[in-house]
Amino acid sequence: MVAKPGLDGHDRGARIIARAYRDAGFEVVYTGLHQTPEEIVEAAIQEDVDMIGLSSLAGAHKYLFPRTLELLKEKGADDIIVCGGGIIPDEDIPILKEAGIREIFTPGSSLDDIVHWVKDNVKPR
């Protein structure tokens, strides 16, 4: 699932990522813009996804990403892998990884790398 938490309105990146996964043979659920972590987690559970990719460009990732993990845990769905991407300063990456975000992809990451990371690290639950 590719999801856009928070209030930023820029989803071109998320759409390109979704497209890249599709072209690599994945089924991708796209949630659209302006999602709360609650909405994302509920949708992920209903769709029974293996992984959530969070896209954030507006700077609220330090709240939104860990909050998503927290809710997954509350729902007993913390076996769903969560990755992030977008405009994320280098110094925030260790904090997010510490919180349980498995990988962060920043501008300049190649689509091939992003797809391969998933192929290597995400197994159907």
Binding site: D23, Y30, E39, E42, A43, I45, Q46, E47
Partner: protein, 318 residues
């Protein structure tokens, strides 16, 4: 297995979500679960929504869900999106229009990709409908792009099928080609504020007039409605027509199990048998490795495809 059945009936989201995945993946064990769930089905009312890409199906579904929720009805949504024939992947984007219902515990939304198994889509969608039915949803909305045999077959499983069109998209000839007139119980012209809505209306009416005898026999002539789903205009009226059609079916077939109608049971069972036969036989043929050799032989020009087919399909199978 009993636990799974119990959890589905209790409406447990995670169990249902996983079961639908297993159905979609064609895991054989789910058959036994479906057998046990079947007695709990038949209470949900299935509405099919179909139409070309971009006519506003997801938005319409979103609005229908809102109206049904206002009446305190629980709703399941199955949104079917096409699988890319090139990569086997799919972008399932119907949720985008419906996400405001995400946190509503009375609504369960699930996306499905068409995947392209022979007959498998129809089968797995029907099974997913059964699961949502067994979990106690009052209404189950199935949204599909109305192209291709599989999609038409899916909407045939619905009790009421809504065919959505928009003004200025294809003339009446297109409508015949797609075969959509046969499946529609209600026709909805969405985005009806656009130029050409009246023309579309009269085109549809003319087409339906040609089938007037069939409608008279059935006792139901599909109404043609106008709406602007994004502004919630015409959706309440649509729900009234759906209710009228539901009443029509009850008057005609009785209330016992409105999906258990002879023609439908016969057709669905036939499809089930076909799918099982084809899947089973095909996997056996592919297993032997003879398939690849035969492909190579045809490629080299040593064999014609007709003889190749004769050799691949065991004569006791056909």
């Amino acid at each position: 297995m009993d636990k799974i059945v119990e959890n589905v009936k209790a409406g447990d989201i995670r169990t249902v979500a996983r079961l639908i995945r297993d159905i979609d993946d064609g895991i054989p064990e789910v058959r036994d679960i479906l057998k046990m769930l079947y007695p709990a089905t038949g209470k949900g009312y299935v509405i099919g929504i179909t139409g070309a890409p971009g006519v506003g199906k997801s938005t319409l579904v979103d609005q229908i869900v809102s109206h049904l929720r206002k009446k305190d009805k629980t709703v399941g949504v199955l949104a079917v999106d096409p699988t890319s024939p090139f990569s086997g992947g799919a972008i399932l984007g119907d949720r985008v229009r419906m996400q405001r219902h995400s946190l509503d515990q009375g609504v369960f939304i699930r996306s499905l990709a068409t995947r392209g198994h022979f007959g498998g889509l129809t089968q797995s969608t029907r099974s997913a409908i059964d699961v949502m039915d067994a979990m106690g949803k009052d209404y189950i909305l199935v949204e599909t792009v109305g192209v291709g045999q599989d999609e038409v077959d899916i909407v045939k499983s619905a009790q009421t099928t809504i065919v959505t069109v928009i003004p200025g998209m294809g003339d009446d000839i297109q409508a015949i080609k797609a075969g959509i007139l046969e499946v529609g119980d209600i026709f909805l012209i969405n985005k009806a504020d656009r130029d050409g809505a009246d023309k579309t209306y009269s085109d549809l009416r003319t087409m339906l007039d040609m089938d007037h005898k069939k409608h008279a026999d059935r006792g139901w002539r599909p109404p043609i409605m106008k709406a602007q789903a994004v502004f919630d205009i015409g959706v309440a009226e649509l729900l009234e027509e759906i209710e009228k059609h539901r009443q029509h079916l009850i008057d005609k077939y009785g209330e016992t199990h409105s999906r258990r109608i002879e023609g439908r049971v016969r057709e669905e069972l036939k499809e089930m048998v076909t799918t099982r036969l084809v899947e089973g036989a095909l996997s056996k043929i592919l297993q032997t490795g003879a398939f690849e050799e035969t492909v190579a032989a045809v490629l080299k020009g040593d064999l014609d495809p007709y003889t190749a087919c004769d050799r691949l399909v065991p004569s006791d199978l056909v």
